[in-house]
Structures are given as structure tokens and as C-alpha cells.
Amino acid sequence: MSNTFELALEPFHFQIHTDIPLVAENLRLMYGDRVHDVTNQVGILPYIDYILHITHTNGIRRFFRPQARFKCDQYEPFKPLNHSQAFAMLEWGMNWAIASYEMEHVVIHSGVLARGDDAVLFPAPPGSGKSTMTAHLAFNGWRLLSDEMALITPLSQSVTPFVRPICLKNQSIGLAKQWFTDAQFSSIAKDTHKGDVIHLAPPIHQPSDLCRPATIKAIVFPQYQRGAQIDITELNQAQAMYQLADNAFNYSVLGERGFNTLIGVVEKARCFQILYSQASDVQEFLEQEVLQPKLVETVCE
């Protein structure tokens, strides 16, 4: 029995086909009223950007250590994973589709959060505490634009929201469950290549939060270290540029446009490397020293 879902995750629309009950369940938990079950009926979204499949592998493998396969339309970019990791695989698959095909934005592997319409990017490799920081800010008055990817409009400082669950790993799973007792968590995907992984549904305060862009005011390269005192280093533009390019997915494809966009961003934003153990210290620094306290309210088109 296969189910079809439609997901309106502005600025992209997905259609998802799955025969794995765990995926269907987690989709509802993570996306709430943004996901629509359209099994055996006409879809409700006017158009679809990406048609995705997350299904059991065929053959007796289905019963013996069952696996999940991800396909974007007919193409299978990854090897199968244990079926308990199917939902995480779908989330990574959505990231893969955007990083591979969307060239209208400069896409950076980065958390993106905003105070009002002032955005801060947190670009970082796995293990730097980026997602823990993202979760902390998202549940403490900041607006979540993305945990995984900053969609920057070329040759501007504007970043478009792509609001999706926050992906937490290993020790941060326990922490997050203590911190956010009311939040929705997905089932745990055990022993992935990133360790244990859980997804945390994003808090959505206003429907307009889902499509209102923000302006990049600061870039923070976070580095988590247990028990460390907060240590902030302001980076010069060359250092920031180098690190930002290192985290960009489609920078090389966009060539000169990508290069000029990142130059523009680091020229206009303040850039920091922050060693920390308490996410609230980083929040305090950003709110008091970097961003002007102001709130702007506008609605989506």
C-alpha cells in the first residue's frame, strides 16, 4: 500500500510517495497542516517541483533487515539505508534535490535565524553544534528560516526561508528533549552516518514567517566545546569569504555570480567565529552587540 503526500514547503513544492508507515507518521508529526495526504485523489497543489519516492527495497530484503530506498523521480542518488532511517533519508533527499537542481539561489550549508527581518547565518560542518544553536534560538524568540540551507538571492543580502525540521544528533537529542518539552520530535534514526539522528518540528509563530525573506546582518561560524568560556573572534572579510565558500553547495556551478554574491554578503555583514558551550551566551551577544532590536511586520505576497 503506497501513500502520496504533497508538501508545500515554500519556495518549493514536493510530492512524496511512500509505502513505509514510519515515514507517513513522521511527515504528519513534523509538518502538521503543511502536509496533505492525497492518496488516490487529485492533488491540491497547483504544481510540483520535485516528485520523491521513499520505499522499501524489493525482494525478500523487505523481510530480512529491511531497507529504504530514496528516489528523486527515477533517479536514486544514495544507496539504501536501514528502513528505520527512512524519514531522515527523505529529509536528506529533499536537501539533495535542492542542492543539486536549484541554481536560482546561492545555496549555503547553514542554519539561518532572524530577529525580525535581520538574519544571522550559522554555516558550519557537522559536529560544530550548528543545529543545537538553531534549535535554541528558534525556541527563544528568533524566527527560523532554515536549519540546513541558506537560500541567498544572487547579488543581494536577501535570504529566503525554507522552513523544515531541525536535525539533531547524538547528545543534543537528550538536551533538546529537556529544553523543549512541548515540541514535536520525530522517531529516532539510529546509527546513521551521522550517529543517532532525530528531527524536531520547527515552531511556526505566523504563517507569513514561512515566506518572508530576511537580510543577512551577521555570519557566525559556531564551534561547540564542552565547558568552554565563550570566545568571540571577529573575522576579516577574506577569512569569512573563504569559510563561507567552503560551506556553499552550488558555489562552483554559479561561478562568477556565486563569487560576487558571497563577496557582497561578507562586505555587508559582520562575521564572527564563536567558541561556546552555552547557546544562550551566543544569543545574548548577538542580541546586544550585533543586531539592533527592532521588529518588522509585513505579510507574504
Partner: protein, 371 residues
Amino acid sequence: MNSTIDRDLLAQLFVRPELAQSLTLAQWTQVLTVLRHEKLLARYALLLEHETYFDALPKFVQRHCHSAITLAERHAKQVHFELAQLRDTFTAATDTWLVLKGSAYTASGCSAAMGRVYNDIDILVDKPHLSIVERQLIMSGWMPQEIDDYDEAYYRQWTHEIPPLQHGYRGTMMDLHHNLVPPVSGRAPDMSLLFKHIELTDAGIPVLALPAMALHSAIHLFFNDDFSASFRDLTDLYLMFNDMSHAQWETAYSLALETGFATELALAMHCTGDMFQISLTAPQLRFVSTHTTLRQSRWICNAMYSTHPFVATSSQSWYTTYAWLRGHILKMPAKTLLYHLSMKAYRLSVERILGKHFFTKQDKGTDRVMP
């Protein structure tokens, strides 16, 4: 998802791009999906991009068109870069080499370069220099791919190429050939006939002149068992054929006869005419009817359409199987073919029973999963 488009609409988009104006949003969803699958989205996007109606197309269509064009531009840049690097390696090792297929279209700037994307770079060297070129390539960072023992033996014994090479830093794939078709088929042409048609691009890259290039494109498509890119390849042929002068057609005919591939050229002419609904000239019709039968070409033509579920017809798998079998029979003598097919059948049935990825080697690294 019910289909709202068919294979004829898909083909007609390339002849009459303005059909774009009449597509519904539901049709666009499927058109974009199928074209992306067929690696033709950039080509179609380039046909639309400069039309006055482009700005009036749905915003998501414009976005996907722009993205596809950007990606194709990147592919072209990469090919020019790789070829510039390879030129010196090859030139040092042999006087006779040339670039084939997609990367040759891009290098030459012919009309089939439009929106072309690639999985690999195809290069041909004269056989006596094959092993020295292979050694030189390994020295300059091109590594043999990990493939299973059966496939390795398959390449070395029976085919016209060596197992694919991949550049260690850039990840670019290369197929290195020494003939156009497998020698085991008994149909491998005397390559010196083709070497006469080599010309240099402005960047000093050797490619086949247009008539020979189109002929090779036809051979590659119709003397083959792999039709996964047949729709795209047929649009390549359609574009190249459109650009050929009367004299160039004559050259193509005589080269096809000399090399023994008149049937393949005739099939290519018939199928482009049939799929894109264009009428052939009297001399073209004469060549087609002399070198192929209507029944044969009709079967083959049906196998050329996209097999994407949104456009595949119910009988398509029959035609595809027929074309696949025909390709194998052409490429291998009966005894070899029997052995090869039973090995493939054995491996396929194991996958059917034990799961699709039974033979897939596990990734040791982890980078593959997250982009």
C-alpha cells in the same frame, strides 16, 4: 499521478517550442520532470529563453529553466576545461586521437551542443597507442573505477573501450575508446576511414567533421543495446541533421557505406523524421528505403521514445526489449552473447530475489548521503 502528457507532445516541444504557452500547470509538472529525467531540460529551456512569451510562463517554470541553463553552462565550462588539460597529455602520446559524442558537440560548438549535459567525456585513440595513453592518464590523476571482475573482463575482452576512468580530484569520468563499436561484433570499421574526417576546433581539439559526427551519433544510438538516453540522442541527431548541407549529406552517405553503417544512418534518418514529424527530402527517402525496411525501422523507432512512466506507452517495454536484444545480437557473436546474457540473467535474478542492491558495494565513506 495520472499522466497529462504523451510522447508526441514531448517530441513536438522541440519542433514547436511555442507549445509551451498552452501547457497547464499539471502538464508543466510532468513536462519538467520528464525533461529533467531525459537530460533535456536545459535544451528546451534554451529554446524558450529568448522568446517573447517566456516572461509570461509560470514562475516555477522560469525558475527551473534558469536553473537547468545554469547547470548546463557549468557542464560546458567543465568540458572545455578538461579538454584543454587533456590536449597536452594526448598530443604527447599519439598523433591520432579525437573527442567523441556529447563533449565533441560542445567542443565543436555545433547545434547539438545546445544545453548538452554529460556523464562523461568520450575520447578515442588509435589502438597501437591505447596502452601508453592509458598509462599517461593514470600518471596525470585519472584512476580506473572499481568495477566487479565480470565487468572488467567484459570490457577488456569484448568491447571497444577500456573500463571507465575517473579523475581523482575533479571526479570527471572518461571513457577511452579504440574503435566505434566492439571488435567482437565483426563490424568494427577501419578507423583510418574516420580519421580522414578529423578537424581541429579553435581550441585545438580534434573532433569529427559534422557529417562523420552525425554518422557516429547514429552508430552509437542504433548499433547499441543501451537506449536509456535514446530520446536525448535523437534530439542531437535532429539538430545535427537540420544543419547539414546537401554536400554534407552526400559525405555522410558515402562514409556510411564505406564503414558498413548505412543501416544505422538510415534508421537515424527515419526515426528523426518519424518522431519529430518532419518530412524527408527525396534523396533522403531513397537512402532510407534502400538501407532499412519499414518494419524494422518502425519497431526500432518505438524504442527511441522516453520510457519515463509519464509518457511510456503500454507496449513500449516490448519495443525496448526488442531493441535491446537486437543491439546485443549486433554487438556479439552468438556464443559470447549466450554466455553474457546468462551471466546477466543470473545476476538479475539474484537481485530480484535478494533485493535490488545485493551486488552494490557498500560505501565506506559517509559523504555520499548528505550533499
